[in-house]
C-alpha cells in the first residue's frame, strides 16, 4: 500500500470539494431558478467534463497551465515554481473536471424546492441572502452534501486528467489511481490489489451515502 499516494488522493479530494462547495451551491441555485439567454449553452459547457475524454481535458489544461500560458506564467512569477506538474495545478484541474459532479446533484436539490415555497420566503420579507440561508439551503442540503461527496469520490478515482496534468511525481502528484497503474506496470499485483480494494470500498460508501441523501431530497 502506497500511503503517501492515498494521503495525496484524499487531500486532493478534500481540497477540490471544499473549493467547489461555496461556488457550486449558489451557481446551482442560479441555474435552478433563473432563466437567462444562453442558459442551455452554459449548462452544456458546465457538463462537458462528463463526456470529454480525460486526455482532451488534460491536453487543454496542460496548455492553460504551462509556463507559456498567461496563467502559468503569472503563477510562476508569484510562487517561483510552475503550476503544471504540481499539487496546486492538480487541484486547479480537478476543480474544473469536477464541476458537473458537484453541480448536478445540487441543482436538482434546488429545483425540488416548490416554487411557491421559494416565493414565500420573498413575501415573508427575506432578502435574497437570508432566503438562501434560512429556507433554500436547509431544504436543499442533502443535495448539496451529495454534490460534495460525489466530487470527493470522483476526485479520488480520477486517472486520465491527473496523469496528463500532474505526471507521476511521488508525494506531489502521484495519487492512488496512478499508483495502482504504476504497481501493475511493475507486476506488483498484491500492492495494486490492496489499493484497488481500498478505492472500491471508498467509492461504494460514497455512492451509498449519496443515494441515501437523494432519498431525503425526494421526501
Amino acid at each position: 500500500m502506497d500511503w503517501s499516494a492515498l494521503k495525496l488522493s484524499l487531500c486532493l479530494a478534500l481540497a477540490t470539494s471544499l473549493i467547489l462547495l461555496p461556488f457550486g451551491a449558489p451557481l446551482a441555485r442560479l441555474l435552478a431558478w433563473s432563466d437567462f439567454k444562453g442558459k442551455w449553452i452554459a449548462e452544456a459547457a458546465l457538463a462537458l467534463p462528463l463526456v470529454l475524454p480525460p486526455t482532451v481535458l488534460g491536453y487543454y489544461l496542460l496548455v492553460a497551465l504551462g509556463t507559456g500560458s498567461p496563467l502559468g506564467a503569472f503563477y510562476e512569477s508569484v510562487t517561483g515554481h510552475p503550476l503544471a506538474f504540481s499539487f496546486e495545478g492538480l487541484v486547479f484541474a480537478s476543480v474544473l473536471v469536477n464541476i458537473p459532479f458537484a453541480l448536478i446533484p445540487m441543482q436538482r436539490a434546488f429545483e425540488a424546492i416548490p416554487l411557491e415555497v421559494h416565493q414565500a420566503a420573498k413575501v415573508c420579507g427575506m432578502p435574497p441572502l437570508q432566503a438562501f440561508f434560512r429556507v433554500e439551503l436547509p431544504l436543499a442540503w442533502p443535495g448539496v452534501l451529495s454534490g460534495f461527496i460525489m466530487t470527493a469520490a470522483h476526485t479520488v478515482g480520477e486517472f486520465g486528467v491527473v496523469l496528463m496534468v500532474g505526471g507521476n511525481i511521488p508525494g506531489e502528484t502521484k495519487t492512488v489511481a496512478i499508483a495502482i497503474y504504476d504497481r501493475v506496470q511493475a507486476f506488483d499485483m498484491q500492492a495494486a490489489g490492496w489499493m484497488s480494494a481500498t478505492l472500491l470500498v471508498l467509492s461504494l460508501l460514497a455512492l451509498a451515502l449519496t443515494t441515501r441523501l437523494g432519498r431525503r431530497v425526494a421526501r
Binding site: Q119, V123, C124, G125, M126, P128, R134
Partner: protein, 354 residues
C-alpha cells in the same frame, strides 16, 4: 387604499384597473386562465409588470414610467399561497417568526387563528385547514399594509371550507387593510366579498358589490361568467323614460328603461329566481309579461328544483322553485303553467355579436 393599473401584452395580456379600500374585502373573480393569480403576483412583486403602476397609501411599489419596482421583500404584503407554501423544515411558530414576527407576536397570531397547542408542529403534521390557518397567520404576523389570498379555499374539503369562511369573515373585521382574494367561485365571492372585480382574458370587466354584478352585469360576457341561465336577445320596439318595450321573437316584453333606441338589438337576462310561477287562482289582469308556458323538465337539486319551461315563442327559460312547491303543485314535464317575467327583474345589456 390600493390602486392597481396594468396594461401589457406579454407574457399574458392584462388590462387591469382596480382599487381596494382600507378594510375592504375585494374578490378577484374569473375563470381559470383569466389572469387572476398573475395580477396578484404582480401586486406582490413576484412577477414584474410591463406597463402600469401599483400604489398603496401614497407609496409606489411599481411604476413603469418612473422605473420604480420595489423588490418583493421590501413590500409590506401578506400573501397566502394556493398551496400555503409553509416552510416544511420549520415548526408553525418558526414559520411565523421567519416572517419577521417576534415570538410574542407570533404566539398572538397563532391564538388568533385558533392554532394554540400546535405551535411546535411541522407543516406535514397539520391538516389542510390547519395549514391554511398557519399560512394566514404567517401572512398577518408581519402586520402588512395589504393582504393577498390566492384561491385560499381551493385545497380543503367543504366542511373545513365553511368553517374557514366564517373565520375569515370574523378575522377581517379586525383588519383595517385592503384584502384581495382570488377565486373562481361566485358563491365564495357573494359570501365573503364587499366588492368583486370580474376578470376575463386579463381584462377587468366590471366591479361592484356581488349583488350589483349579479343583478346587472355590464355585458353578456359577464352575465355568462356569473352563470346566468336566462341570457337572451331581443329587439327594442319602443323606448321612453318609463320603460323599454321589447320584441322577443314574437313576444312583447316590458322592461325597465335604459339607454336603448327603438329598432336596436339588445341582450337581456332574468335571474332564474325571478321567473315567477303564477298561482292557479291568481287573477291575470294587470301584471306585466304574463305568459302560458309548457314545462320541459323538472330537476330536483336538494331543497330547490330547476324547472325548464318552453315559452309560446319556442324559446326556453330556466326557473328555480322550492322543492316543496314543485311537489305541492305536482309540476312535471308536459304540464302547462302561467309565468310572469317581472319587468323590474329584467336587465338589458348592449347586444354583442358572437
Amino acid at each position: 387604499m390600493l390602486a392597481v393599473v396594468l396594461h401589457q401584452k406579454r407574457p399574458i395580456t392584462l388590462d387591469v384597473d382596480l382599487r381596494c379600500d382600507q378594510g375592504e374585502l375585494l374578490a378577484l373573480v374569473g375563470p381559470s386562465g383569466s389572469g387572476k393569480s398573475t395580477v396578484l403576483k404582480i401586486i406582490a412583486g413576484l412577477l414584474r409588470g410591463d406597463v402600469g403602476s401599483v400604489r398603496i397609501d401614497g407609496e409606489t411599489w411599481f411604476d413603469s414610467e418612473k422605473k420604480i419596482n420595489v423588490p418583493v421583500h421590501e413590500r409590506s404584503v401578506g400573501y397566502v399561497f394556493q398551496s400555503y407554501a409553509l416552510f416544511p423544515h420549520m415548526t408553525v411558530l418558526e414559520n411565523l417568526m421567519a416572517a419577521g414576527g417576534s415570538e410574542a407576536r407570533a404566539r398572538h397570531w397563532i391564538e388568533a387563528v385558533r392554532m394554540k397547542g400546535l405551535e411546535h408542529q411541522r407543516p406535514h403534521q397539520l391538516s389542510g385547514g390547519q395549514q391554511q390557518r398557519a399560512a394566514l397567520a404567517r401572512a398577518l404576523v408581519r402586520e402588512p399594509k395589504l393582504l393577498l389570498l390566492d384561491e385560499p379555499f381551493s385545497a380543503v374539503d367543504q366542511l373545513t371550507r365553511d368553517r374557514l369562511y366564517e373565520e375569515l369573515a370574523e378575522l377581517r373585521r379586525r383588519l383595517n387593510i385592503p384584502v384581495i382574494f382570488v377565486t373562481h367561485s361566485l358563491t365564495e365571492a357573494q359570501l365573503l366579498a364587499d366588492r368583486m372585480v370580474v376578470l376575463h382574458r386579463g381584462r377587468t370587466l366590471q366591479s361592484g358589490t356581488p349583488e350589483e354584478v349579479f343583478r346587472a352585469p355590464a355585458t353578456p360576457d359577464i352575465a355568462r361568467l356569473v352563470a346566468h341561465k336566462n341570457l337572451l336577445e331581443a329587439q327594442v320596439i319602443a323606448a321612453d323614460q318609463t320603460l323599454t318595450l321589447l320584441d322577443w321573437r314574437g313576444l312583447r316584453l316590458n322592461a325597465p328603461p335604459g339607454a336603448f333606441t327603438s329598432g336596436e338589438k339588445v341582450a337581456w337576462l332574468i335571474p332564474a329566481l325571478d321567473v315567477r310561477m303564477n298561482g292557479p287562482d291568481e287573477a291575470p289582469a294587470h301584471v306585466d309579461n304574463r305568459f302560458e308556458a309548457q314545462i320541459e323538465s323538472v330537476v330536483p337539486l336538494g331543497d330547490q328544483a330547476t324547472v325548464r319551461i318552453r315559452m309560446p315563442n319556442g324559446e326556453c327559460l330556466t326557473l328555480s322553485a322550492a322543492a316543496h312547491i314543485v311537489r305541492k303543485r305536482q309540476l312535471a314535464a308536459g304540464r302547462s303553467i302561467g309565468v310572469s317575467l317581472l319587468p323590474a327583474s329584467i336587465h338589458l345589456m348592449p347586444h354583442e355579436p358572437h
